[in-house]
Symmetry: C2
């Protein structure tokens, strides 16, 4: 199988209690692509960048075998720029600057050779853009995964509902699941969202892990308790990219494999937060990754005979 | 082994978004005792009640084989009374009324036959009272478990540190762990608390589960995602009572058994929150309990081969 991921490629400037960065490589498609590629999945990203985008960063995609044929470069435009500041609890952040730049008129163009991708990951973007991606597919994907956020609930409700009705899996955080469903209980929220389209609902709870709802079943993936969360930027996208990438690489869309896929996503996300930006994800060794999967096993494994 | 639990026996009046109660049976020792007894553990509680304490409630202890020789009845006093109100998020509550009554001058008296109890559970009370319980033991217990709360950090810091230095296990919620340690990261907080005395630190995160830290190991027990949390009163005490009761009944204090014990505590607590007060816990069948343990297994169990 191959994975098509649409999303932002961005410059991020990040401030945390541990330090701050200049403009560094960021964006949902970047994290999704890196996470999926780390797992050996064939992944292509669709995005837009400006003439100011560093060739070193282009090299990051090439080095990691992430297809960027669908990344349009607008020479006289500037790359999307986001700047944010985290506080000690790391669950909340203040956006300091958002410069849409080339993202403002982004119309994704899926390369012909990718229009038959079996798995499509719709990174967080305007729902109309996400709809246009699905409309361009020449073969109905086996699995469409949607990421979205509260901003679109507040500004593009109708087209958000439309894209939600067309996807198989939605990833959303707990507060957003409550807003989308009007239900406080996450179990009820998931059930209601399942009636809106996606058979599978993944609710992200940040440092408290993630819940996977499928039919009447529920699975919980913990977040690894860390000494320090250095920079949470990109954790949600890494999680989604790890999930999508694992399903792609294993070509197995069963519930049992989805459970493994969200553990893989959680494990990769636990690396992303350990350094600024994509640093840790880019330099991750397979030994580090395997050891972390063992840590995840030890975190919840117990003798089931009582 | 046998378990000695000290704590309150109380009247609670509870208001939640789902309804409200008159004065009903409550208190830390009540929940701890019921949880431990449900597991077949030999458990005795030490507490104090007033002349107004209903004989029906005495019957609850007898029916569940909870020893109450150490529960002193002060005929001309009134039973400790707490009233509280929960809001929709159920993680926060407002205390409406606290009438200490007979608790004000509570001096626990451990019956001679219980001074050799192998496991001691110190329910949330003034640290000086918890110290006096330990001082009365004729044989050093194999395991002492402490529950406490922020109120004692603010009002009895020195004696709190003293009792913490004398226990093997502490159960504490996440905000309190941060306050006690001065560390935001729960991993760092647990490490610091381990240097204060307890080798085992259990951090309760309410609907987000609980973390068990022992030496350099960490285990995570999820909370069961529920359609409705009806009344969270007593959930923390049920959890602690289930933990202590399981260790007592199995007479196994190993780390591997502690992992099972916090799953058992979480499972029992998931029942407590389904109805007001002790209703669900009192009427729990063994089949319901076994099915819930299976639900817990399904919640985190996945195929570890990647």
């Amino acid at each position: 199988m191959k994975l098509l991921a649409v999303g932002t490629v961005a410059y991020d400037a990040i401030e945390t209690p541990f330090g701050k960065t200049d403009k560094i490589l960021g964006g949902a498609a970047t994290y999704i692509g890196l996470a999926a590629a780390k797992l050996g999945a064939e992944v292509n990203i669709v995005s837009v960048i400006g003439g100011d985008f560093k060739s070193d960063y282009i090299e990051v995609f090439h080095k990691n075998s992430i297809g960027i044929e669908g990344v349009k470069k607008i020479e006289d435009g500037k790359t999307f720029f986001w700047s944010g500041k985290y506080h000690i609890d790391m669950n909340n952040r203040d956006t300091l600057i958002t410069e849409l730049n080339v993202l403002e008129n982004f119309e994704p163009q899926i390369p012909d050779s990718q229009k038959n991708s079996e798995i499509v990951m719709l990174g967080n973007l305007h729902p109309a853009i996400q709809l246009s991606v699905l409309a361009q597919m020449s073969v109905k994907p086996k699995l469409v995964i949607l990421d979205t956020m509260d901003f679109w609930m507040n500004t593009a409700w109708d087209s958000l509902l439309q894209i939600i009705s067309k996807v198989d899996v939605i990833t959303i955080n707990d507060a957003e699941a409550r807003q989308l469903s009007g239900e406080y209980s996450l179990v009820k929220a998931a059930k209601k969202i399942q009636t809106m389209g996606p058979k599978v609902v993944i609710i992200k709870k940040g440092e408290h892990g993630a819940l996977l709802f499928s039919e009447n079943k529920v699975f919980f993936a913990p977040a690894l308790p860390l000494e320090d969360v250095f920079d949470p930027t990109g954790a949600g996208d890494t999680f989604a990219g790890g999930f999508a990438g694992y399903l792609t690489q294993t070509a197995d869309l069963s519930y049992d494999n989805m459970k493994k896929a969200i553990i893989v996503g959680s494990a990769l996300a636990s690396f992303t937060v350990e350094k600024f930006g994509t640093d840790k994800l880019q330099n991750l060794s397979s030994t580090e990754f395997e050891n972390r999967l063992t840590e995840f096993k030890n975190l919840t494994d117990y003798n089931y005979r009582f």
